[in-house]
């Protein structure tokens, strides 16, 4: 239905990806790190779906995005479980305190 050029979607997706990666690199809160990963996955999905509009019959991009959403859900579940168990050990969720394997 859209008359909006593809580039607009790509620019928004790129900006979102950059936001997510900056958050992932700069923040120390494990929860925010996981959310930043979700942001990046969303940006990738947006790119996939935007490109898929230009394939007249195929829906491969949308289907791939569907699988990415499934993987993101699994990642969130496992990641949050890891955060919980990390919190149980360290009483903190700061990522720079995750140094149990350092000697």
């Amino acid at each position: 239905m859209t008359g909006i050029p593809l580039e607009y979607f790509l620019v928004v997706a790129a900006a979102l990806f950059v936001t997510g990666s900056v958050g992932f690199l700069l923040r120390r809160n494990l929860l925010v790190l996981l959310m930043s990963i979700e942001l990046m996955l969303n940006a990738v999905n947006l790119t996939l779906v935007a490109y898929n509009r230009f394939a007249p019959v195929s829906h491969n991009g949308q289907i791939f995005a569907f699988f990415v959403i499934a993987v993101a859900a699994a990642e969130a579940a496992v990641g949050l479980a890891i955060v919980l168990s990390f919190f149980r050990v360290k009483r903190s969720i700061r990522s720079d305190e995750a140094d149990l394997l350092r000697n």
Partner: protein, 443 residues
């Protein structure tokens, strides 16, 4: 051979001739302009553009010997043309010059099929008429991009659903034109081009073989007026879509910024929610309705709620994290942003309702979701089932990890191990409940 060639006619040749030989040697070259495209095997075969380059890096592909060359250099044959996505069919090549209008050529073909459909099977009878009606609008400049997408859905629904091959004969050229001339069709829909002509002056056609009277350009004045009116309507629709797009982009970007910059993880989660809703809006704009629904259900319904659960479980200890000067400082005007956004969204909704009452996306929605469902449970069945296995593994793993392999002394307070651990590490007596334990160790 017919169409815009200097010497149309019937030629007898061996298999192995290339399209270039056929058009330029036997046909004497393109009449009036350069070669734009050619339908190699009669009008029910998908069209080939002259500027297509073959991409067949695989050794096993029948097209591999011509990898990187033009499609015009491929010898005519069953295997090679099947690999090109078209057919030799009845070998009646139809040549299209670049001075002619491909949109009009498409319309002409579909008018033929609409007229010829016998009407026994519904998909073909109705589909060919629908295609023609949509193309009528597109040729006149009244079409929309959504109708362009619907054309491929209609054609896709004819394929394989009719008794005889006439239905495929209608759908295949339609899909071919939609794929190869998408740009030209979109330009016409946006009102960037005007209808050109199909019959060219020159040695072909009824206009006379020796440069006789030139054909007048097709659109008379009446049509031009209609086109400008519709052009304005299309322009207004595009600006409306741009407004919706801008709102969705605002949601996405501001939500993303809040997610990474907020000190309080709950605010981060709310920012993530805004981003997710914005992305879902963009999916709707891209006519991916199914994915938009999945996005809202899985992300907003499951992932964000899971984040909130974990934040609540961790308690006030981690709610505000004080020690990050680089991202700590509130951005200028950050607090005001969400409120402004909400007000604007309400205004846009109020504006959108009265002006845009027609459910323009309804047919497209069901068709698209059905197509995705078919693909998901057809070709993608194994990955789909694998993803359910993945989710199961993730759930089991999450439970296992969250329970923890390292025993908590407060949980195992009766065993010898817990007594040993309590003696070694934990300072408090084992009877203290875990909540007070947390508060004591809080910094």
């Amino acid at each position: 051979m017919s169409g815009h060639v200097k010497r149309p006619g019937i030629f007898e040749a061996c298999v192995g001739l290339t399209l270039r030989d056929l058009i330029y040697d036997l046909g004497g070259g393109v009449a009036g302009g350069e070669l734009l495209a050619v339908i190699p095997g009669g009008s029910s075969c998908p069209i080939l553009r002259a500027d297509e380059i073959i991409n067949a890096p695989g050794e096993k592909s029948p097209l591999h010997p011509w990898h990187g060359k033009s499609v015009l250099d491929v010898p005519l044959g069953v295997d090679t043309f099947r690999a090109l996505g078209t057919m030799l069919g009845t070998c009646c090549a139809i040549v299209l010059s670049d001075k002619a209008d491909p949109v009009l050529a498409f319309h002409n073909l579909m008018r033929f099929y609409r007229h010829e459909s016998c009407g026994q099977c519904t998909p073909c009878r109705e589909g060919s008429a629908w295609i023609l009606r949509l193309l009528d609008r597109i040729v006149k400049g009244e079409g929309t991009i959504e109708e362009l997408d619907r054309l491929s859905e209609v054609a896709d629904n004819i394929m394989g659903n009719t008794i005889c091959a006439f239905g495929e004969g209608t759908a295949m050229p339609a899909l071919g034109f939609l794929q190869k001339f998408r740009k030209e069709l979109e330009a016409r829909v946006r009102g960037k081009t005007k209808p050109g002509r199909l019959a060219l002056p020159g040695p072909v056609g009824p206009a006379g073989r020796d440069g006789g009277p030139r054909e007048p350009p097709k659109p008379p004045g009446k049509r031009r007026g209609a086109q400008s009116r519709c052009g304005r309507r299309v322009a207004r629709m595009i600006t409306l879509e741009l407004v919706i797009f801008g709102l969705a982009a605002l949601f996405v970007l501001v939500g993303g910024l809040i997610t990474v910059a907020a000190r309080n993880p709950i605010r981060s989660a709310m920012g993530l929610l805004a981003t997710i809703v914005g992305v879902a809006g963009m999916y709707l704009l891209l006519s991916a309705e199914f994915l938009a629904a999945v996005q809202v259900m899985v992300y907003a319904g499951a992932v964000v709620v899971l984040f909130l659960f974990v934040i609540m479980l961790l308690g006030p200890l981690v709610a505000v994290e004080p020690r990050h000067p680089h991202l700590e400082r509130p951005l200028p005007g950050r607090r005001r942003l969400p409120r402004v956004r909400r007000r604007r969204r309400g205004a846009a909704r109020a504006r959108r309702r009265p002006r845009d009452p027609a459910p323009r996306t309804r047919p497209a929605r069901s068709g698209r979701s059905r197509a995705i469902g078919r693909e998901l449970f057809g070709v993608g069945l194994v990955p789909f089932e694998l993803s359910s296995a993945l989710l199961l593994v993730a759930v089991v793993g999450a439970v296992a990890v969250a329970r923890g392999r390292q025993p908590d002394p407060t949980m195992l307070r009766d065993t010898a191990l817990s007594r040993a651990m309590a003696g070694a590490g934990a300072p408090e007596p084992p009877d203290v409940p875990s909540s007070t334990h947390r508060k004591e160790t809080a910094p």
